[in-house]
């Protein structure tokens, strides 16, 4: 998913034009982060839980090929069809073929970031299949012809008035009605009819258990279950990294997932699908799409431990103030910024730089991914591979020359102070990004080096 050529900074600039809206976005997500903190504090041994989650996922990565085979064999023994897709294209083709061979032209879909990553909706639409996203947030962004801006809260960038207007245009609700209860009830009634008439349902997968061949789907709305239990065909798409070894490990992940995501003790529904419903069929599509390559990158493989809770986004000062769409990737925020360069380093070279490296993401991650370290490491890989933006390269080059020579460093400092004193407009202008929303400090009379030289002489030398 890359819909524009603008980079993160340019798109963040657009988002930042409406300052009150940025404040609202920032505060809303920070509130979600605070709900997470409150939930986490109630759990004795939260850190042990994170450590257990992290260790289970480490074990998964080290034994992934074996667990995948075990999962496949058990799922097949349960009567579930298993398909393998090497990339997004193959995934989409498998789904289309399943639908076409069953004469299905309309499907319901619950939230699946993998299908966003694969651009499944666009592909199916082009091939004459109508897709309705049933998660309310995704339904809203679909009406708006947009992509989700957050993996857990897809339309967190939208104001209720805008949603009211979308419903007015598409569902015929009264103009100006932006009451969340009314709008939710409208979507409920509208989608109920849809659920009852669709023959195929597509869902994501939160966890796939190697030991039993079952998979677990978590929702608050009940939309995954409504879709899957009413359809003749249930297609579940999962990345290869969704595997966990044993059913009992769900105990760890279901305890941390919703608490990290929204501060709920658990999602309303945590549904375990093991065998198909009598008279219906279940298909699992296991997708690689670059994950096996990421597994081979020692510095970055830990990103595959992600359970998609979104906590790193809610806490990120850059995400909160730039919005999910500025990342221009199916998965935004800190985790998206370490996953995307694996898929296409050149295209997503801007993302690892969209961070202050403050480390808050790493601190909240329920499976202890070293997110900010990986952001820093990606920067180095990207610069070494020649994908850094030209202005950044030029600036870094100039900096290297200045800092590597004491003489040029001193001269540059003097010139800088002189310039700020005599011609402040040369730096205090809109072309200098550091001047945005800031006043530059008062210029000191001299540098620390000069000050030290002068003052050192006032003191006795033997102290």
């Amino acid at each position: 998913m890359k819909t524009t050529d603008k980079d993160h900074a340019a798109l963040a600039n657009e988002f930042n034009k409406d300052a009150p809206r940025v404040d609202w976005h920032d505060e809303t997500l920070w509130w979600v982060r605070q709900k997470r903190d409150n939930a986490v504090k109630k759990i004795p041994g939260w850190e042990e839980l994170r450590e257990a989650g992290s260790q289970i996922k480490n074990n998964v990565l080290a034994n992934l090929s074996g667990y995948l085979k075990q999962f496949e064999a058990n799922a097949q023994a349960n009567g579930v069809h298993v398909h393998w897709a090497i990339d997004a294209k193959e995934h989409n083709e498998i789904v289309l073929e399943l639908l076409q061979s069953n004469g299905v032209k309309k499907i319901v879909k619950s939230k699946s970031m993998l299908t966003e990553e694969c651009n499944l909706n666009e592909y199916l639409n082009l091939n004459g299949v109508d897709v309705i996203d049933t998660d309310l947030g995704e339904f809203i962004v679909q009406l708006a012809n947009e992509h989700p801006s957050h993996i857990v809260l897809p339309c967190i960038h939208k104001k209720k008035e805008e949603i009211g207007e979308l419903f007015h245009q598409h569902l015929g609700t009264p103009a100006g009605n932006a009451d969340p209860v009314f709008l939710t009830e409208t979507a409920r009634r509208h989608l109920r009819e849809t659920f009852l008439t669709r023959k195929a349902a597509l869902t994501g997968v939160n966890f796939a258990v190697a030991e039993t061949g079952e998979f677990v789907v978590c929702t608050n709305e009940g939309n995954a279950d409504m879709g899957a239990h009413l359809a003749d065909i249930h297609i579940a798409s999962m990345g290869i990294e969704k595997i966990i070894p044993k059913r009992k490990h769900l105990g760890v992940f279901l305890r941390v997932l919703a608490r990290s995501a929204t501060g709920q003790p658990v999602t309303t529904y945590s549904s375990h699908f093991k065998t198909p419903r009598p008279g219906a069929s279940t298909h699992i599509v296991i997708v690689d799409n670059g994950r096996s390559k990421q597994l081979g990158r020692e510095d970055f493989r830990n990103s595959l431990k992600c359970i998609r809770c979104g906590a790193c986004m809610n806490t990120c000062p850059v995400y909160r103030r730039s919005g999910g769409h500025s990342y221009n990737n199916a998965i935004a925020g800190p985790i998206g910024s370490i996953l995307a360069p694996n898929l296409d380093m050149k295209k997503h070279a801007d993302l690892p730089f969209a961070s202050t490296l403050c480390g808050s993401c790493t601190n909240v991650c329920p499976v202890k991914i070293d997110i900010h370290d990986q952001l820093y490491k990606w920067r180095q890989v990207i610069v070494k591979s020649g994908h850094a933006p030209v202005p950044k390269k030029a600036a870094m080059g100039a900096m290297t020359r200045v800092l590597s020579s004491p003489v040029s460093y001193k001269v540059a400092g003097k010139l800088g102070r002189l310039m700020m004193k005599r011609a402040p407009f040369a730096v205090n202008n809109q072309f200098n990004p550091w001047y945005k929303q800031r006043e530059l400090p008062v210029v000191p009379e001299n540098s620390f080096g000069e000050w030290y030289k002068k003052n050192r002489n006032n003191k006795p030398k033997d102290i």
Binding site: P44, N59, L136, T184, T275
Partner: protein, 195 residues
């Protein structure tokens, strides 16, 4: 080579050499949860808990309160005088679309998060607890375990084709983080807690 074999080959080549199988024990550390915790947590996430001592109390409650719509169904024979008794897979799931109240039973609930465990055994159809407008669950207080680790100890002793944890009514906060109960599943969840 098939996509399956290609993927498995690359994964096997690229996966890190070893990571020990994690062993952990959370069961003993957290046995502080009680039925009181369950009541508080479930109430906090929008559910309603009605403590009862006999099935007759439940019958009376259903008779007096579940009257917002014509169709009340149950999988509990003892409630067949106040609700339509469902039979295993007797209908197409679509025939349940007009169910107002569904009353089902459970043998397992979790204190730390207010969830009840429901499997397809005993449900006439998997969709029943989702498609009904209001859900009610009959639970023995003795079947509440402390946390999810303890829950999976119980779950692992049984087998199922489909099972789900249900914690409260369906909900969404997708519109400006305003919590709304009743997204696609039930608008309310009542637990009859047999003390």
């Amino acid at each position: 080579m098939s996509s399956r074999n290609k993927i498995l080959t690359v994964v096997a080549e690229n996966q890190p050499r070893t990571a020990p199988f994690p062993e952990f024990e959370f069961l003993d550390a957290e046995c502080i949860y009680s039925s009181e915790t369950f009541i508080n947590v479930l109430t906090g996430i929008g559910g309603t808990v009605i403590p009862v001592e006999t099935m007759i109390e439940i019958q009376n409650y259903i008779f007096q309160n579940f009257n917002q719509g014509p169709r009340t169904v149950t999988n509990i024979p003892a409630l067949s005088n106040v609700a339509e008794l469902m039979h295993q897979s007797s209908t197409s799931p679509h025939a349940l679309s007009d169910v107002d109240y569904a009353v089902i039973d459970t043998r397992l609930a979790v204190a730390e998060n207010g969830a009840v465990w429901v499997t397809e055994k005993g449900l006439s159809d998997r969709v029943l607890p989702f498609i009904c407008q209001h859900l009610a669950v009959v639970l023995n207080a003795g079947d509440i375990v402390s946390n999810m680790h303890a829950a999976y100890e119980v779950i692992n002793a049984d087998d199922y084709g489909y099972g789900t944890f249900i914690a409260g009514p369906s909900k969404t906060a997708d519109i400006e983080q305003s919590l709304v109960l009743g997204a696609h599943g039930p608008k309310s969840m009542t637990v009859f807690l047999m003390m």
